[in-house]
C-alpha cells in the first residue's frame, strides 16, 4: 500500500483527495497538515534563496507530509517556472534523506492523456482508466460548484448578520462534498446548499465599498500565504471580487484568452506568461465596472506579475483608481499587511464620501 500526498492550496484539498481516493481505492491518501508558520520556516530553510514563495510553501508541506509517512507526492505545474518546481524539489528532498517520488502531472501548463496515464501507472499499475475518467469529471464539476459558491460568499460575507454563518455553512458543505457518490448526488447537494446560502440573512448597504483582487494564482488561492487578506477585508464590510480559481485555470483560461486579448488590446499584444495578461485585462474590467479599489497580490520574485505591474498601475492611473500592491514573502509580517490594508481602506472611505 502506498501513501499518496499532495501540497495543499485553499479548500481544494477536498476535491483532490476525493479524486485520488476513488482512483486509488487501495492506497492511503494523506491529507497534508494545514499550513502554519512552521511550514514556511521549514520550506524557506531548504529552498534556494530567490525562488518565488510558492516553492517554499509547497516544499514545506511536502516535508511535513513525508514526516507523516507519505511515499508519493503529487505536484502540478503552471505556465511559468512553477512547472519546473518538481524536479528541484525531488532533488532537495533526496539530499535531505527522504525516500519519495514526485509525480508532476502538468509541466509547462500543458499535458496530455498519454503522459498522465504513464504517470498514474507508476503509482498503481492496476488503476482503472474508466473510473479515473468518470471521477475526474465529477471532481471538475465539484470544483466548479465550489467556485460558484465561493464567489457568492465573497460578495456577501462582509455583510452577514450572524457572524460566522457563511463559514460554518461552507464547512458543512465541504464535508458533504467529500462523500459524493455520483453526478446526480453532487448536483442535488449543490442545489441544496446554494439555496441555503441564499437564505442566509445579509444586510447590504447601497454605498458599500467594492474591491477587486487580482494577482498571482497561488498567493491568491491559499489564504495563509496572503495573510487571510479576504477575511480582513470582509471584516471591514467590503464586497470582494476575485477572478482566479481552479476552475478558471483548468477550463476557462484557454478559452478566454482570445477574448481577454481583444478586450485589453491597448495594453498588451502578447501573452506575458502565467496570469499576467489576464490580470491586465481584469484591471481594466474592474476600472470600467467602477470598483472602488484594486488589490494586486503576488509572492515576491514572481516574474510575470512584476512585468504586469507597471501596466496595471498605468491603467489604474488612466481611470483614476487606487491600486494597492502587495508582495508577500516568508518574512512579511501580519501587522505590516494589516496597517497598509487599514490605510488603504480609510483612503477608499474618504474617496467615497467625496
Amino acid at each position: 500500500m502506498t501513501k499518496i500526498a499532495f501540497p495543499q492550496m485553499g479548500d481544494y484539498h477536498i476535491p483532490a483527495s476525493y479524486l485520488l481516493s476513488h482512483v486509488f481505492p487501495n492506497d492511503q491518501i494523506i491529507k497534508a497538515p494545514k499550513i502554519t508558520s512552521k511550514t514556511i520556516e521549514i520550506g524557506t530553510k531548504y529552498s534556494p534563496e530567490f525562488v518565488c514563495t510558492p516553492f517554499k510553501y509547497t516544499l514545506g508541506t511536502m516535508i511535513e507530509s513525508l514526516e507523516q509517512g507519505a511515499d508519493i507526492l503529487i505536484q502540478m505545474g503552471g505556465g511559468c517556472r512553477y512547472g519546473y518546481y518538481a524536479e528541484l524539489q525531488e532533488q532537495i528532498l533526496k539530499d535531505l534523506g527522504y525516500k519519495c517520488k514526485i509525480i508532476n502531472l502538468v509541466t509547462k501548463g500543458e499535458t496530455n492523456f498519454k503522459r498522465i496515464n504513464n504517470l498514474l501507472k507508476q503509482i498503481n499499475p492496476k488503476y482503472s482508466k474508466l473510473k479515473t475518467i468518470y471521477y475526474t469529471f465529477v471532481t471538475l464539476k465539484m470544483v466548479k460548484y465550489m467556485d460558484i459558491i465561493d464567489n457568492y460568499i465573497r460578495e456577501n460575507i462582509g455583510f452577514e448578520q450572524i457572524e460566522g454563518s457563511f463559514e460554518s455553512l461552507k464547512e458543512e458543505m465541504l464535508v458533504e462534498f467529500s462523500h459524493i457518490k455520483n453526478f446526480r448526488h453532487l448536483y442535488r447537494t449543490y442545489q441544496k446548499y446554494l439555496k441555503k446560502f441564499h437564505k442566509l440573512k445579509t444586510h447590504k448597504p447601497d454605498n458599500r465599498l467594492k474591491i477587486g483582487i487580482i494577482g498571482e494564482l497561488y498567493t491568491i488561492m491559499e489564504p495563509f500565504s496572503n495573510y487571510y487578506l479576504e477575511k480582513s477585508l470582509a471584516k471591514h464590510h467590503i464586497e470582494i471580487k476575485r477572478f482566479t480559481n481552479v476552475h478558471y485555470l483548468l477550463i476557462e483560461k484557454a478559452k478566454e484568452y482570445k477574448k481577454i486579448k481583444k478586450y485589453a488590446k491597448n495594453y498588451f499584444k502578447y501573452n506575458m506568461g502565467a496570469d499576467a495578461s489576464d490580470n491586465i485585462a481584469r484591471c481594466k474590467y474592474l476600472c470600467q465596472k467602477n470598483y472602488d479599489g484594486i488589490i494586486h497580490i503576488k509572492s515576491s520574485f514572481c516574474t510575470p506579475e512584476i512585468g504586469a505591474m507597471p501596466i496595471i498601475s498605468k491603467i489604474a492611473n488612466q481611470y483614476q483608481k487606487p491600486v494597492l500592491f502587495f508582495s508577500f514573502d516568508s518574512a512579511t509580517s501580519q501587522t505590516g499587511v494589516e496597517t497598509r490594508l487599514e490605510a488603504f481602506y480609510d483612503m477608499l472611505e474618504m474617496r467615497k464620501e467625496k
Partner: protein, 300 residues
Amino acid sequence: MNTVGIPRSLFYYYYGNIWEDFFTALKINYIVSPITNKEIMDRGIKTSNSEMCLSLKNYLGHVDYLKDKCDYILVPRISNFKNSNQTCTNFWAAYDIVKNIFNINILHYNIDLEKGQTLKKGLYKIGKALNKSSPQIKRAYKYAIIKHKKQVKKNHQINQNKLKVKKTKILIVGHPYNVYDELIGKDIIKYLLKNNIEIIYSDKFDSKITNPLSKEISKDLYFKYSKDNLGAIAYTRKKINGIIFISSFPCGPDSLANELAMRKIKKPYLNLVIDDNSSFTGLETRLESFLDMLGGKLND
C-alpha cells in the same frame, strides 16, 4: 532618414550581429546604445519596477537612453524555440513593458516557433516597416545570417580549443547579457583573466550538442537558455577545474536550474548573484578565495 535604435542589452547579445549586418546591408541608419555605464543603469533603475531583475532594469535603462536619439527602437519578443525550449517570461513581456512605460515608436517582431513565427519572418516584417522591397530584404537577410553562422562556428571552435589548454580552466555559466555586460559580469571576467585563468563560456557551445546533454543534469528543464548552460556543464565537466555561476538578481530560471546543477555536479563552484547594490570589492574577495581553493587543489 529613419534611425533605428538598438539597446545593447538582453536580446542584443543573441541577435546583435544579425541586426547590425541586416541594417547595414539595407542601408538603414542605426545606433547601438553605448556599453553600459553607471548613468544608463541608474536610468533603468529609475524607470523600472523595483522588483524587476537587474538585466531587465539594465535593458530599460538602455531604452531610456535611446528614446530621444532615434525614430524607432527595436524591441523583439522571443517566446519559444519549439520542443519545450521556452525563454524566460521577461523575454515574453519585454515588448509590452517597453511599450507601456515609454512613449516611443517601436519596431518589433515575435519569435514563436510553435506558432510558426520565425526570425526570418520577423526581419522581413521589420524591413517592410522601413519601406524596403522584398528582394532587398532577402539579400540583406541572407548576408546577415551567413555572416552570423560563420561567427558562431568560429566561437564554437575557439571554445573547443580553450578546453585543450593546460591552464586552470573555469567554466563561466551565465546568460550572455549578464556575462558580457560591462556593469554586471565584465569585472569578474577581467579579474579572472588578470589571474591567468582560461575562461570557457557556457553560451558559446553548439546548442545542438549541449541541449541533449543537459538531460544528464535536468530532465524536465524547458528553458532554452538554461538548457544551454547546463548542457555546457555536462559537456565540459571532465575537462574543467571549476565553475562560476553568474546570474542577476532575481533571475527566475536560474534560481531553479542553477540550484539543481549545484546540487548534482561534483565540482568546485562559486555562485555569484549580482544585484544593483553589489560592489566588486565583495565579489573580489570571494573570487580570490575561490581561486586559492582551486589552486590548492591543483597542487595536490
